[in-house]
């Protein structure tokens, strides 16, 4: 095993280089890059973490986070996915990368993680490309059996404005067929209504349906809608530390 020495926080973090091995377009504005480290080395990370990519923009370099969408057990290239953002110079640079290019990054980082199967029923909520960190979390949750007996239920609600932006839909559907404790709820809603719809669905399923407040949640998405979902669940009586979220 090769260990990178931990850098001091006052200095710039250790940088790794990754080669773009493959590009996959989910939609015209949504892309995955598959990256490999030099020398066949393997990136260790916890499901849910991100890498911080160093993006040269003019005379400066900015670091921008990209969640790892593949699972840590996969020994091949790891995957990040992203979508175009109006005026986003960093992501425009990302879209210009080609197979064979090298990308510099640091990490992995992030505390929005799941490293073992939940011991209680779990709800996952994601919007668009924010399924990226959720995908390896689900794989880890379903691959590791927490205890004897029936495993706790896991339910995913993934919303997008149209079918092509429901990333990994067929894979998630297959996972739901194979794992009796996992259910997958893809949702299509107009972009401006997505969080209203997620709010309604979460409220109906986990707030109004019963008085059970032992569940835990993992929410990932963009903007204040994520905070509304957090507040819905915490306000309904779920433990603060049972409601995990990452707001992009």
């Amino acid at each position: 095993m090769t260990a990178e020495p931990p850098p001091a926080a006052g200095a710039k973090g250790a940088t790794l280089g990754a080669r773009v091995e493959k590009i996959f377009d989910h939609a015209s504005d949504t892309r995955s890059l598959f990256l490999s480290l030099a020398g066949g080395k393997h990136l260790r990370f916890i499901p849910g973490q991100f890498i911080s990519i160093l993006i040269p923009l003019g005379d400066e370099t900015r670091s921008r986070p990209y969640s790892i969408a593949s699972d840590p057990e996969h020994r091949g290239p790891f995957e990040i996915c992203f979508n175009r953002v109006a005026g986003g110079r960093g992501v425009a640079w990302m879209f210009e990368r080609r197979v064979g290019d090298t990308i510099d990054f640091s990490g992995p980082f992030g505390a929005f993680t799941l490293d073992r199967a939940p011991e209680v029923e779990a709800g996952f909520i994601a919007e668009g490309t924010a399924i990226a960190p959720i995908r390896p979390m689900l794989k880890r949750a379903l691959a590791s059996s927490p205890r004897e007996g029936a495993p706790p239920r896991i339910h995913l609600i993934h919303a997008a404005p149209d079918r092509e932006h429901l990333l990994y839909a067929s894979e998630l559907g297959e996972m739901a067929k194979k794992a009796s404790n996992f259910s997958y709820e893809p949702v299509i809603a107009p972009a401006e209504k997505i969080y209203d719809r997620l709010f309604e669905l979460a409220q109906a399923r986990w707030v109004l349906s019963d008085a059970d407040r032992t569940r835990q949640f993992y929410i990932c998405g963009v903007g204040k809608g994520v905070i509304r979902l957090r507040d819905l669940l915490r306000g309904a009586g779920y433990e603060r530390r049972a409601v995990h979220y990452e707001q992009w």
């Binding site: 710039k12 973090g13 790794l16 973490q49 991100f50 911080s52 921008r64 992009w248």
Partner: protein, 124 residues
């Protein structure tokens, strides 16, 4: 002018920044006028792996003086700080702690390590 004195636990030389909070933002990452924004805008590096969006703890700082002169922390910042190594009662995230008072004198320590950097990220 507000004053921000920065001590580094790794032994790097102390830095002092004098600035006018009304002129924020000084850079493009973190909340305008935040410790991160002030530091980056004056050429002093502070890790911010998530781009200063309150999604990691790499900009964790410990406030030694002037804690009450900083803008209040949000629930999101508190949630994130819970996961920071070496958490203290005066810990803040540099990207979220805004200095608004033009007479503030803030002293911070940048911890040696962050939780994310302690792990061995690469194996054969």
């Amino acid at each position: 002018m507000a004053k921000l004195r920065i001590q580094f636990e790794n032994g790097d030389p102390e830095k002092i920044i004098e600035f006018d909070p009304a002129k924020a933002p000084f850079h493009h990452d973190g909340k305008p006028g935040s410790i991160l924004d002030v530091m980056l805008g004056h050429g002093v590096h502070l890790e911010h792996a998530c781009g200063g969006n309150c999604a990691c703890t790499t900009c964790h700082v410990i406030v030694r003086q002037g804690f009450n002169k900083l803008g209040e922390s949000s629930e999101q910042e508190e949630d994130m700080l819970d996961k920071a190594p070496g958490l203290t009662p005066t810990s803040r995230l540099g990207c979220q702690a805004v200095i608004e008072d033009p007479d503030a004198e803030i002293v911070i320590t940048v911890p040696r390590y962050t939780i994310n950097q302690v792990s061995e990220a690469v194996e054969e």
